[in-house]
Symmetry: C2
Subunit: 127 residues, 2 copies
């Protein structure tokens, strides 16, 4: 996989008029592989909490030194989880001096939210 | 975990006025564990395609005998993936005679879509 500046390719456009909900048409093989990689990156509680801690900053950056103290885990372990989030294209990383700073790439989570959305749910048809 | 009729507990209500987006407030430990279990179930291309094939039926049921021919995989392998989706609370299963029939439980994917949503994205603030 070729990353440019630590950023994976965005999986298509998630514009409002381009519903790619999995409940509208069966997912193709290639799309399923791409999406599964993203979902798998979210399939760990530590990575989910890390992503959430970074995402709550909006477009702002978070130093890894601010993330590690929230966990009973070593900094290498935290860095490994952050690497997996970065490789999935969910966050971007930039090293400045001693520390690495992370920010969210919301296009990836937007894409997953669009895939999971149900058209009828947004029209009040939620069961 | 106690399942009733093959259905996992729904992770809270996903009502419109109860935003649980991960970009609003950091996820707690318990919620992260629950959500990660769901995301992990989606972190496989075969399971994603199976879920999509079932979800495109709306509230309808799909016989496992209709799902298996779409894959170059044995029926036991397909059944294993379906079991993981069921244990995660994403689908429900009912055996009738020879076959097992599956239907989606949209509350689970609704919950994940809500967690991934960004309030600003729905207001046209998508970057």
């Amino acid at each position: 996989m070729s990353n440019q500046e630590g950023r994976a390719p965005v999986l298509g456009d998630a514009s409002a008029d381009d519903c790619s909900c999995l409940s509208i048409a069966p997912l193709g093989e290639d799309e399923s592989v791409e999406l599964a990689r993203l979902f798998k990156a979210l399939g760990d509680p530590v990575r989910l909490r890390l992503l959430s801690m970074i995402a709550t900053r909006g477009g702002g950056e978070v130093c890894v030194c601010e993330l590690t103290p929230a966990f009973d885990l070593s900094q290498p372990t935290i860095s490994h989880h952050l690497k997996l989030l970065r490789e999935a294209g969910l966050i971007a990383a930039e090293r400045r001096g001693t520390w690495v700073y992370y920010r969210v790439l919301p296009e990836a989570t937007d894409r997953l939210a669009a895939v999971l959305a149900r058209p009828e749910a947004s029209e009040g048809g939620r069961k």
